[in-house]
Symmetry: C2
Subunit: 317 residues, 2 copies
């Protein structure tokens, strides 16, 4: 799993940061990407990465402010034009369906794939064998959601040395053992799955929160998460503005992470007033927390593996 940031700014695009869009890359897990929010020119940002729009499987929209949705129509159309034919599902607040439908109709955009648009409320909004996504309302000036993405425990690995020792023939029996089923060998012996597989591996837990002030539901979604992605539009000096506009400071974000006993914090949705040389001072304001805190940059990519979060690279730009 990787997190690739396509837009980390607040409100309006600036030269340094586009409006919000975050890609959860699940190529190893399911061969697809999930996108969280889609500010204007998200498809333009993708042109500077190796991302392929056709691999987009789901788009989650935190709230309907323009800096989180104006890139949707163009991306939906281009995904079709570029040969995307797998169905795509959008999850978002009430109102998103009518807007997308009128936009596609007005612009005579006919998609070559099935588009599902689900207007969500608090609760489990998606679940399959691999993942659960839960939405909860957080506190902004308009209805806004945060999401908890939970990867279910991974199937235990088959230990091939053990099946070889038991002379289990290579082939379909191994698949059954791997999937947890006990099998009978051609010679009549019974092999138990638990005897030839390792321990099940925990999946990851990720909280992706939309625009919000410090609030209880952010903590609840972030409880025990491996990674919390929280907005930090403002800092200590501009905390009053945060209160006024339903946003957070970087300190608010860190406090959410701390109260939730989460392991890593990444902040995004950074006001354009903060220039690159201000970021060190922002990080200083949260230097006393004992978990890693990153300020996301456009095109920064973070990898999660073996229980560790690593900034791996900035994509081509």
């Amino acid at each position: 799993m990787q997190l690739l940031f396509l837009g980390t700014g607040a409100g309006m695009p600036s030269k340094g940061r586009n409006t919000t869009a975050t890609v959860l890359k699940l190529l190893e897990e399911r061969g697809t990407y999930w996108l969280f929010d889609c500010g204007e020119a998200t498809q333009h940002q993708m042109l500077h990465t190796t991302l392929k729009p056709r691999k987009l499987e789901k788009i989650f929209i935190t709230h309907l402010h323009g800096d989180h949705i104006y890139g949707l129509p163009g991306l939906l159309g281009s995904r079709s034009f570029l040969g995307g034919d797998a169905s795509l599902t959008i999850y978002g607040p009430k109102g998103i369906k009518a807007w997308i439908e009128l936009t596609l109709l007005t612009s005579s955009t006919y998609l070559q794939y099935k588009l599902n648009i689900i207007e969500i409320e608090d609760g489990i909004i998606f679940e399959d064998a691999q993942f659960v996504v839960e939405a909860k309302s957080i506190e902004h000036v308009i209805p806004c959601f945060g999401f908890k993405i939970t990867q279910k425990p991974l199937p235990p690995q088959l230990i091939i040395e053990k099946t070889d020792a038991l002379k289990v023939p290579r082939g379909p029996l191994l698949k059954q053992l791997k999937e947890g089923h006990d099998v009978e060998l051609p010679d009549g012996r019974i092999v138990l799955s638990k005897d030839v597989t390792g321990d099940p591996k925990e999946g990851f837990q990720l909280a992706i929160l939309g625009d919000t002030k410090y609030c209880e539901n952010s903590i609840s979604l972030s409880q025990g998460a491996d990674i919390v992605l929280h907005e930090a539009t403002f800092d200590k000096e501009t905390a009053e503005l945060a209160g006024l506009y339903g946003h957070s400071t970087i300190l608010d974000a860190a406090n959410v992470c701390k109260e939730a006993n989460a392991l890593n914090l990444i902040v995004n949705h950074i006001s354009a007033r903060f220039l690159p040389y201000h970021l060190k001072e922002m990080l200083n304001q949260v230097a006393h927390f004992d978990f890693p805190i990153h300020i996301a940059e456009d095109f920064a990519e973070y990898d999660w593996s073996n229980g560790r979060l690593n900034k791996i690279t900035d994509s081509e730009r």
Copy 2:
């Protein structure tokens, strides 16, 4: 007057060309800009120029395909956020008003200026003391307009040597003479405006055409124009595609310009299949025409003065 190209591509953004947006800079004429079409990320392109969104006075939309309108909501919102308070008028095909209104409502965007949206039909769509704008339907796969922008003759210049020779006192009388009124001097003499002013100067005529195949109304709008801006999505080798999708080749564009006896041709809406090194070959295909032909590039700017069209610069990028 200058023409500044913010997007010269077709259909989808590419690394080299954004979707369509053309700025008619009328700073000397009226202190404002007019924008023709507004593909996604037009506001992003403006960040790389000296353009100020608050100086946008009018936006003309040729047709409702996404590559011509998806940048509108973001630009409208940012213009407000950046302090734009003068009213703004959008002219476009039927359907644009309902879409803009639902988009602003859905995204809780409250503009700090008056927005007028005028759904147009063929005919004069704007006229004041300086300019007339006429719209005519051209031939695309959905309703599409071309525009003829006519600057009215400029008031004759006052020849100060002549008024001085006649001992006309400096002050309000000069203004009246300049505006074409004859005046009586304090000593009773009558001075005729025509005796102290130069010849009236012709204004410019500019045709800005939307997506279209070769058609009569394009010629009619371009009749005698100083500059024709015509799409050239395709070239000689891809002419069949042009026919299929209601577009033009560069040869079609040049033929419109020739039939209309227009003076200069600029083409835009260039398919992403054409890379920079293809452009010379495209120009070769129209080398036999005896008027200047330019292929527009993103951020290219053309100046019109003293009856001549000059490419002045590429804006910062």
